[in-house]
């Protein structure tokens, strides 16, 4: 049963999609029903970060083992992670329109962090396109990936903790911090995180197989 995580991810995501809309949630100021976004928006970001971490590990392995295989995987993981940033941004933006009254704001360090990390991965893709030699490309882009991942984490993990964020749970905003998320919400939130992370890994595996087949066809 090597497909267990695929089945599990589909079941969990379907469950959270349905039960996330039906289950009772605490009534908080401003947030009200929009608190349900925590089931969709946050797990998608978790999946993206997970894929970026996979990409980082593959990049480190590219450097230590000097194998092209790992480089392909690092690229695929970055691609899937990048893909997840689109629904992550969209759900966040729509939610922000109803709670903060704007699609986008520069006041929030997390939003800036996300914008920067998208730029970083775009730069990573452009760097890959600009080098023709495969081995050289593998090494150079792995170095950039490792460096960029650390800088991105400085940005999205540390900076928001030092300045006030508009995000719920930061800076005294009503929130799903550990005090506000009740056990009902946890029943949906944690399965959603697991579901989306497994789903992203599934996509990653499919991308790997496609690039493997493409490689075979080229040879």
């Amino acid at each position: 049963m090597k497909h267990w995580y695929k089945i599990l991810s589909v079941i969990l995501i379907l469950y959270t999609l349905v039960w996330g809309l039906l289950n009772p949630v605490p009534r908080l100021d401003i947030l009200n029903e929009t608190i349900r976004n925590v089931y969709y928006h946050v797990p998608i970001w978790f999946a993206m970060l997970f894929m970026m971490a996979v990409s980082l590990i593959q990049s480190i392995q590219t450097l230590t083992k000097n194998k092209l295989d790992n480089d392909k995987k690092a690229y695929n993981a970055a691609l899937v992670g990048f893909f997840f940033s689109i629904p992550g941004l969209t759900t966040g933006s729509i939610w922000a329109k109803y709670t903060w009254g704007t699609w986008w704001t520069f006041q929030d360090p997390k939003l800036n962090g996300v914008a920067i990390s998208i730029l970083i991965y775009l730069a990573y893709f452009i760097l890959r396109f600009s080098v023709d030699d495969e081995l050289k490309r593998a090494r150079i882009s792995a170095v950039y990936n490792v460096f960029a991942f650390v800088m991105m984490n400085v940005f999205i993990m540390i900076l928001p903790r030092l300045t006030d964020s508009l995000h719920p749970g930061n800076g005294g905003n009503p929130a799903f911090s550990k005090y506000d998320m009740d056990s009902n919400m946890r029943l949906v939130f944690y399965p959603a995180v697991i579901g989306w992370v497994f789903f992203s890994y599934w996509l990653f595996e499919i991308k790997n197989r496609i690039s493997f087949i493409k490689n075979k066809l080229d040879d």
């Binding site: 760097l127 080098v131 150079i140 490792v146 800088m151 400085v154 900076l159």
Partner: protein, 216 residues
Amino acid sequence: MIVSLIKKELLLEFRQKSTIGGVIVYVIGTIFVSALCFKGKLDKPTWNALFWVITLFTSVTISGKSFLKETGGQALFNFLHYSPTQFIVAKILYNMVFMLVLSFITFFFYAFFIKNEVENLGLFFIVLILASTGLAAILSLMSAIASKASGNFAIMSILSFPVLMPLILVVIRISKQAVDGIEWAAVGFSFIGILVALNVLTITLSFLLFPYLWRD
């Protein structure tokens, strides 16, 4: 070995007077254009932002070329004679010194042509020093990457701007405090701590990663 490498860099820089002169003219030109555009009508946040934007662009332009000349025969020579860790440490140290001098020159002309809005000069200089060392360290590694990848200038800015953002945002915030003349007791020292940590982090990462860029 590191000292001799730095010496070599300095010698090359001063032998080619066009580069060092060009840098200073570039800085003065940029500041003069900004001064004419704003005509002295800057409030404090704008003054602060403009200063760091100018510093950012100068540093990317200057550090961008720090590895560009290390190609072909020169690269082969370096590869045979130096170890990668020595080489990157020497490059970073040299770039740090260069950026320090350059940022103080920038500040001097900026204060001269536009005006000096800084009220807590001591704090501002601490930020200026930490910012220029941080910029130099990050840009050295980015320049090494860019020189390996076709080495055109566009790729240098594409690679560096996103990774410079954490540094620049912290710098802008703490430098705003210096411009506003906040008392020492109220200064956000955690931000200075982050700046130091970013410097250390970048140097460590360059030290670890550069050997992989070394062999070609």
